[in-house]
């Protein structure tokens, strides 16, 4: 965990940011997913569809950023117990993203201390308040 402060209801997780979403990583992700949808990698298709020239990030990558944020805080990739999210919008190549999280409950289950957190992934380009594109909740094992 990145802070020695006690975890309690209302504790805010350190913001986790993507400075600029990479179109190149979308291409690799499309191959890993065997995803033939060209809006993730072909600018000519985007333009033909009237969608501009910035590839659309895959939903699983957006979800993965949220996983990164909560597991970085809780102590590693193995700390995630549950993540539930709703997809609210799209993320485009080049956008600046931020994941925020707040502890909603701290509890014990089977001798393990858990934190339930509200989480949100926001596009923060030119909007300090952020525009939510993924929101939901996560449960992590506390050290």
């Amino acid at each position: 965990m990145t802070t020695a402060a006690p975890v309690e209801v209302g504790t805010e997780l350190p913001p986790w940011e993507v400075a600029s979403v990479s179109a190149e990583k979308m291409k690799t992700m499309a191959a890993l997913l065997s995803d033939p949808t060209p809006i993730h990698w072909d600018v000519a298709t985007l333009q033909a569809l009237g969608m501009g020239d910035r590839p659309v990030n895959q939903g699983p990558l957006n979800m993965g950023y949220v996983m990164n944020a909560v597991t970085a805080w809780a102590g590693g990739a193995g700390s995630l117990r549950r993540l539930r999210v709703r997809f609210l919008g799209t993320v485009l190549a080049g956008q600046h993203l931020r994941v925020r999280g707040t502890v909603r409950a701290v509890r014990e289950e089977d001798g393990v201390r858990l934190a339930d957190c509200d989480v949100v992934l926001e596009v923060v380009d030119g909007d300090p308040g952020g525009d939510a594109v993924v929101s939901g909740s996560a449960t992590v094992v506390l050290p």
């Binding site: 890993l32 699983p60 539930r84």
Partner: protein
């Protein structure tokens, strides 16, 4: 022809063919790199935790049907614009780099709705379970993870 609400309900309970999925080390490295996480070491022979996004990767990669086939069950195609609505990953224990998981699941819910702005649409929920094939199915430790998703199908012709 429009996809009828009665047809929608007949699909609840339909099982996916399923399959198995291996978190290959090269795949674990590339996925971590894509999602901006620390990639696992390819030279460390010890046990390593895979990125939790692999629950979704396995659930999707070993459904046993393509996306087009799944959309076809619901009388739709990718051109109709189906989108993910919600997702839930539950991990009973961390996923491991190099491990193979048996994947099975099916359609759990299907509901027709009408939105004031969106018109008619169907929300289909399905879940996939990841199990350790090295343990008996009834072993409490065999169930490693569960992925639940909802897909929203616009029904412009309904």
């Amino acid at each position: 022809m429009a996809f009828a609400e009665a047809d929608l309900q007949t699909l609840v309970g339909r099982r996916f063919p399923g399959g198995s999925y291996t978190v290959e080390p090269w795949r674990a490295w590339l996925l971590a790199d894509c999602v901006l996480a620390d990639p696992p070491s390819l030279t460390d022979g010890g046990e390593q935790t895979a990125h939790p996004l692999f629950a979704w990767m396995a659930a999707t990669g070993a459904m046993g049907v393509t996306w087009d086939e799944l959309f076809g069950w619901f009388g739709a195609s990718a051109a109709d614009g189906p989108v993910f609505g919600e997702h839930e990953t539950t991990l009973h224990r961390p996923l491991r780099v190099g491990a193979t998981y048996r994947v099975s699941g099916g359609v759990e819910s299907a509901e027709r709705k009408v939105g004031r702005r969106t018109g008619v649409f169907d929300v289909v929920g399905y879940a996939m379970d990841l199990r350790d094939p090295g343990l008996p199915p009834d072993d409490p430790g065999a169930h490693v993870a569960r992925c639940w998703n909802s897909i929203v199908f616009p029904r412009r012709d309904a």
